[in-house]
Symmetry: C2
Subunit: 462 residues, 2 copies
């Protein structure tokens, strides 16, 4: 939907924002806005945003939205800009609402095992603060050290511990959100249970800034598990690793983490780090069990894995566990040494992991693109990573075609376009295919109920 944005309305908005916001809360001009124009998706929007509002209070967000709504100027909410699907990209004529300065933990209640936080709190900071009380914030996207709780909620971020602890939505009890017209609402509750009214908390979670701007969140905390046991198993092929994960599920082992790395990923880590992972197998499964029965559960896993794996190691020693997990942590830095990375994110029914990876190999060959894949295997969530020529500023057509084939493969296998990164701008083309025309139309009506003039993050998510 083209926005009826015109230069005069932009000028009027800037005038009114200058008048109504504190001086240090408004950045105008390319120097001020450039750092806020794109996320980490590798795609860049056209043109430059008009201005950036550095909100330090919900009122600033309300002021910005109220006037933008009136003047029909698009607004792009932004946390730390670590998104991977273009959701925070801010193009010509838009105003960025930057929430990174709203970064206070307003309340942390060990008795209730809840926290109330502003959206700009870094996810790992919240986890650390909870840790002082033996608690933790369970959602742990790989970006936890640099992404914000608000951004994680806007994308319903996943992570490594989802297998056991669920996604961000499962940790969010209630939200303060500013609607497109500047109205502040408070959704959800502070209790563990509650069914009053429609679940707008869940609706806002994962809505990628298109329904409202989150200005506070009440989240659940959970006890840090008493102990953790880590297992590393090498397999000859990725398919065997995937089958082993299915066998674990069938045996009712419920790991907190099950990361499966394919052979090319292992070779890339070896090349970058001087390790010898690839020589030990064609895929590596890293498993963590936690809780009071962590060791017993890991032992059950090991007994089962020995039937499938080339080799299996296990430990409850944190230092040794860290050594085992290092390979996983080094995946991205190692791939980034090979070229420019484009991180994809599909999910399939767990039984379809191996077929999905087989298809991805075929797709890589068909389009002559290098693809490295690892998976949050217990969730069926795959990250095929396209590694592109670092010297080419644009993503080549072949890469987009490969990505397109990956998405349609996910849908054909009964899966989804995005397991945890969001639709953003990059996956909108395939959206209607997954949702169906009727649901897609309904979702647009829901959007209109929140934001009738399509001011909030237009062109994203839907």
């Amino acid at each position: 939907m083209p926005l009826p944005h015109t230069a005069p309305s932009a000028a009027r908005l800037l005038t009114v924002l200058r008048r109504e916001l504190p001086e240090d809360a408004l950045g105008i001009g390319p120097e001020a806005t450039a750092p806020y124009a794109a996320d980490r998706s590798g795609s860049r929007p056209e043109g430059e945003p008009l201005a950036v509002v550095h909100a330090t209070r919900a009122e600033h967000v309300q002021t910005a939205l109220r006037h933008a709504h009136e003047l029909r100027v698009p607004v792009v909410p932004r946390g730390a800009g670590t998104g991977l699907s273009g959701g925070a990209n801010a193009g010509a004529g838009s105003v960025v609402v930057d929430l990174s300065r709203m970064n206070r933990i307003l309340e942390l209640s060990p008795g209730e095992q809840t926290a109330v936080v502003e959206p700009g709190v870094i996810t790992a900071e919240l986890d650390r603060a909870a840790g002082e009380f033996g608690l933790r914030y369970a959602p742990d996207p790989a970006s936890a050290a640099i992404s914000t709780v608000g951004g994680n909620i806007a994308t319903n971020a996943g992570g490594l511990r989802c297998a056991k602890y669920g996604v961000t939505r499962d940790a969010v009890l209630g939200l303060d959100a500013v609607l497109a017209d500047g109205t502040l609402i408070r959704t959800g509750r502070r209790t563990v249970k509650g069914v009053t009214g429609y679940d707008l908390t869940a609706l806002l979670t994962g809505s990628e800034g298109t329904l409202g701007v989150i200005t506070a969140a009440t989240v659940r905390l959970r006890p840090v598990p008493e102990s953790t046991a880590t297992v590393a198993a090498y397999f000859d092929t990725f398919a065997e690793g995937a089958e082993a994960v299915s066998a674990l599920t069938a045996a009712h082992v419920e790991p907190a983490m099950a990361e499966l790395l394919d052979g090319p990923v292992l070779a890339a880590v070896d090349a970058a780090q001087g390790t010898d992972l690839r020589s030990r197998g064609g895929s590596l499964l890293l498993l963590q069990c936690d809780g009071r029965a962590a060791e017993a559960e890991a032992e059950a896993a090991v007994r089962l894995l020995r039937k499938h794996a080339a080799s299996v190691e296990t430990t409850t020693d944190p230092v040794e566990a860290d050594r085992l997990l290092t390979a996983r942590r080094l995946v991205l830095p190692s791939l980034e040494r090979l070229g420019r990375v484009l991180i994809e994110d599909i999910a399939v029914p767990r039984s379809q992991l191996a077929p999905a990876v087989r298809e991805i190999a075929v797709i890589a060959e068909r389009h002559d693109v290098r693809i490295f894949t690892f998976a949050h295997a217990a969730d069926g969530n795959l990250h095929p990573i396209l590694v592109l020529d670092p010297d080419s500023p644009d993503v080549p057509e072949a890469a987009w075609r490969a990505a397109s084939d990956i998405f349609t493969t996910a849908l054909r296998l009964g899966g989804t376009l995005t397991g945890e990164h969001g639709v953003g701008t990059l996956k909108r083309r395939w959206l209607a295919e997954e949702l169906g025309a009727e649901q897609h139309a309904l979702q647009r009506r829901v959007k209109a109920a929140f934001d009738p003039h399509h001011v909030l993050n237009p062109g994203k998510a839907l």
Copy 2:
């Protein structure tokens, strides 16, 4: 919003439904409709429904809704009619869409740990079918033996195991739903994770039939825990029991179940069943820990409870556990012998359990109403049960005033009007107070995006 329903449109609807539905799928006249006019809330709607559609396929639901939408005749979806808040009450001029005959388990995949079911499947039946594969359907409302999966989803039902396994929403991956105009949509997915589009699955869950009629659900199953340990602890007062539950939470014990019964409940069970529970304490806490570490966790609980309790018993023997749990199971039958029961359902932050129960005692005295309370204590979810004169057909004003005071107490303590039963018709009066005027207005706009003519279960939930 008054519906522009008139007798001519009703007559036309019946004519067209007679023509388009199979003969045995349509019931007309008081004899056919009377069993479908009310739920178990104790409130009765005014007048009689026009007809009842006994759907056996989604197409029947689509046909009924398409024409009802066109003719502006209200439709009341109904599972087993076991709701406690009036959500399935069908008054004058409405058409009931009965889903109880859509009761097939369409698919049960042990490998994926998912099932696809029609909405009329009895919750306990699904659990039993999953049990054949060592799996279970975690949501376990007390009504599981008589309520349906679809009805549970429509109310986002809770239950006893929520403390560890969450509510119904946490088990629902995707839905088939018929919208007000007869359109069938398929929300969500079959994968564990996925963030494509707005989370309409969560929005439909708990929407009490006001946004769409569920015709199929894809749900998660979970492994049956390896072992279960049960603990029973008596305390001198309810407050001490509530404090013990807080102490367990603080010690990071995570029971699968924590039911706390107050003294009057114990006395009522004694009177009905000849037991001597009340002589052993002023409240009884029943705790279950499950999983690989059930015994170790129960032992940790017992060590802690001994500091607070008058007496503590524990067992891992299923027969002995059943004896300990009998008191809980006998609560409702025992209270029903004392009079007509009105079951309330509030939730408060866990630290506010004891204050809530103290307030409830004051409210009972103020309005001279007998109130018996038990709680899903680890969730802060309280069920104050008003026991009324069995010979009076109407609920006396004093009871409604007491209920009103209970709701406002819940809100004052930072809680919610309904932990798991839903708003239905009975709690609408207090809804705006909990949601706030702005969110309430937004929720009505969301409703209109789904059902612009307010045909689906009007006068409920919102």
